[in-house]
Symmetry: C2
Subunit: 514 residues, 2 copies
């Protein structure tokens, strides 16, 4: 067997089931090996940013890495923006980057570049295979590295001669993430803070935002009166009817600061200190009240959800959680289509078990608010601020969870970055409904412009933040890639189109004209 065959067999043995790719000549032996290894499904993306975003979505829903098979430096470069988001999501992702044989690099052929350097800013682990014999072990090492808590991007550079050279089968099992032990003193400190009487917040992040962590945090809150907060953007929020509520911090720093002002003690659980997304001239950078006490209950390398359970027990919080109040779902909206009425329609119709991939920018706040009483679902955020994540992440989530409906809430600006993801949805017949909030501008920038003091911007300045002249026609763009699509210009049409899209299998797109 050649290196490529042995690598793919080892990856399958290590639990890899999915490979996203847009291969080239240097990857042909790897693609051929993938087709021999029936345990790994190969999914083609027409742009590598689709692959890397989808691998992120798959990881968020399964906790396991998918593989991106990429074509030298340029293939990696195209994947990088969504790898940046995956890095911020702490998603386990494995990149296999094909390269020229080392001996050909001295010729500096057109496609050559310094791949390892390029990979470093988005990867927690980078290695280059030395030969075909080492390749299977390198692949398993990449899987293991990706799974290292809290999850990271691992990049393996594969010179083509490692793929086509002779290798041998590697015995390997399925690597599991290993957590650092919990800290008894951290738990004792947290108990002390929660019993001190000072107003205290738990700040949750990562896996604590799934059901077990949320329930433990709710029991702690019930016992101690603590607030339960989260960062604005995290990889995955479990939420909906019956699940305890978490207060997500507002995006703008002045609003976040206001929310945080009520507390003087903060216990971090699987996340970092709340910070501002951007810095502003003459603006404060810190969000927490001056003199706050901040302690870490569990960091990202520990099992933070178990830390919450241990803390609940130490507080004598009891096993039972008072069920959270049942919140009403909105009625089907009527009248003008706005971000608010679109959000109400989503709240009225969101099916149980839905996965929402949210890159809706300024338009999505209403959908988030209106779905708080919807049946239980998962909410995936734009983690690294690099737009063009939402539709690829939804695509990967749909591959991870074929039984669950996926809804992408997507601003038009970000949607244009990786619109090729729609084609992959069509090819794989994925059950994804993409809502394009079509306001024909980068609205967040026009808001930030005001906040930065440009209160009477010229038309020319505004036009650099507008997707108009010409308007994009999302119905045609979707149909051009084989995805059925409709346009909605009233709340009624939007609601009925959403209902239809959710009822029919396969991908759909709705352009919500705001």
């Amino acid at each position: 067997m050649n290196g490529a065959d042995c690598l793919m067999r080892a990856l399958a043995d290590a639990g890899v089931t999915l490979c996203f790719t847009n291969p080239g000549t240097t990857e042909i032996h790897l693609v051929a090996a993938l087709e021999q290894e029936r345990r790994i499904r190969t999914v083609l993306g027409l742009f590598e940013g689709v692959c890397s975003g989808a691998a992120d979505g798959f990881a968020r829903m399964t906790g396991r890495p998918a593989v991106n098979l990429l074509h030298l430096g340029p293939g990696l470069a195209n994947a990088m923006a969504n790898l940046h988001n995956a890095r911020r999501a702490r998603s386990p992702v494995v990149n296999l980057v094909g390269d020229h044989p080392v001996i050909h690099r001295r010729n500096d052929p057109p496609l050559a570049s310094d791949i390892a350097t390029m990979a470093a800013p988005v990867s927690g682990w980078v290695r280059e295979s030395a030969d075909a014999l080492a390749l299977p072990e390198d692949g398993v090492a990449a899987v293991r590295a990706a799974l290292g808590l809290p999850g990271q991007v691992a990049t393996l550079v594969i010179p083509a001669d490692c793929a086509w050279g002779t290798s041998q089968h590697l015995q390997s099992g399925i690597p599991q993430p290993e957590a650092s032990p919990l800290s008894e003193s951290a738990i004792a400190k947290a108990v002390g803070m929660l019993r001190s009487g000072a107003p205290t917040a738990l700040v949750l992040g990562g896996k604590t935002l799934l059901e077990p962590g949320l329930r433990a945090a709710a029991r702690i809150a019930q016992r101690s009166g603590a607030a339960v907060l989260s960062q604005t953007f995290d990889a995955r929020f479990a939420r909906g009817a019956g699940l305890p509520l978490v207060q997500r911090l507002p995006y703008f720093p002045e609003r976040a600061r206001k929310r945080l002002a009520a507390c003087s003690q903060f216990i971090l659980v699987g996340t970092h200190t709340p910070i501002s997304f951007f810095a502003y001239p003459n603006g404060e950078l810190d969000l927490l009240p001056k003199g706050s006490r901040v302690e870490i209950l569990a960091d990202e390398k520990q099992d933070a959800a178990r830390a919450l359970e241990t803390l609940a027990e130490a507080l004598g919080a009891g096993q039972d959680m008072t069920p959270p109040p049942m919140l009403k779902r909105p009625e089907r909206p009527t009248g003008a289509l706005t971000a608010e009425s679109a959000g109400a329609a989503i709240g009225a119709l969101l099916p149980e078990g839905a996965v929402v991939s949210d890159e809706s920018g300024t338009s999505g706040e209403f959908a988030y608010r209106h779905t708080v009483g919807a049946p239980p679902h998962d909410w995936l955020c734009l983690t690294g601020g690099s737009i063009g994540q939402g539709v690829p992440v939804g695509t990967g989530a749909a591959l991870a969870c074929p039984q669950r409906p996926v809804i992408c809430l997507q601003g038009d600006g970000g949607a244009m970055y990786t619109l090729q993801a729609l084609w992959t949805q069509a090819r794989e017949a994925l059950n994804v409904t993409t809502v394009i909030f079509s306001n024909r501008k980068y609205q967040i920038l026009q808001v930030e412009l005001q906040r930065l003091g440009f209160t009477t911007p010229s038309a020319a300045l505004l036009s650099t933040m507008e997707l108009s002249r010409p308007d994009l026609d999302w119905v045609k763009l979707a149909q051009g890639m084989g995805v059925p699509a409709a346009r909605a210009d009233s709340a009624e049409v939007f609601t009925s189109e959403l209902e239809r899209a959710l009822a029919e299998p396969g991908p759909h797109l709705i352009e919500a004209l705001l």
Copy 2:
């Protein structure tokens, strides 16, 4: 004035006239400053790969750098694949990358990453501004670095506080590229080789492929009997009726080796030794016959076209060049639409002064051959092998040369990478005709698959190299971005649609169904 205002003024003083951007919050002061500086035109791209490819096209046609204004690491990442191509084209390009203020980086906010490291593999020059006072000088230094022969990508990282902080006006002129002196001994050596009687080839590259270099090389060839060759892919070829012919080396190494076998001496002029694009198992890497003599007449830092003129004079080649034979243009084709008949239509209709941006992969060879007798035009190649260059480069060329018709010959696979460029063409009303060679596959990969010994590939393996199921509808995709479009399924329809597109102003797209 703040740093941003002083920077843009200094850049305009340094000859910058065009900025491509997709800005974000960290770039708002820079965008506002651009709108104040009327000498710099700002063009919005809906994806940064459009911006960087367009900047490359602009540089190839003008010899001057355009600026890409990019949003932190992710904006740079999205631009990188076409920056890789620009690096290989030796195009002067300046990237301005907005970043968080240094003080905010310690918070590791979501959009933070190591931008300078990310930039290094695609940049010949990287700097980060230290403060607002340094920013204008840093900008001019970036322009100067970009123009350093043979031309390179220069990346300046701009922490936001450098843009909004107080600065002052910088007096500066327009930097000019400065060539290293020619080598008299290199010229003498070349004279000796050409007089030796051994079969000798001039291998041209870079600026020598424009008219003055071609004419000098033709005079040398006329006098000495030397062959005149070029690499397969170079940034810009001047060609067409009345211009001396250059033999472009074939893409596949065995064919290139055959072509090169006729010579035993090679004189490199502004380029490197011919090399294979890819390496193959058990394949030879070298293209030149064993024992060949290779000498450099002028390297990329010298004025290689002037070296040819000096050499012609030293040989006593005389000032007159025998006019090259007038080659016939093809008739308007009829019958089935194939890569060959499409190429004939392009050959029959190509207007004088056209700029052809060629990323047509396997389909474009015929167009190249059929345009050899067309009126004089420029031919721009995919220089770095990173697909998704063609339509952006054509977009930038159209901005550089508003009086010249631009034709993008584009494979469907590569077109999907940066299809957002069509929207910029529509917004700026650019006179670009994009021909999509729609064979619904990455055909070059299916060819390479055979060459690598996978002679009976499975349907599953082939499907990872196919853009079908569903087919892309390029008419809808173009119309979705405001570009008029038509589909052609016969040579007659293709020819008449091409004729119409060339006659009408503004952008057009033709999907050539092969």
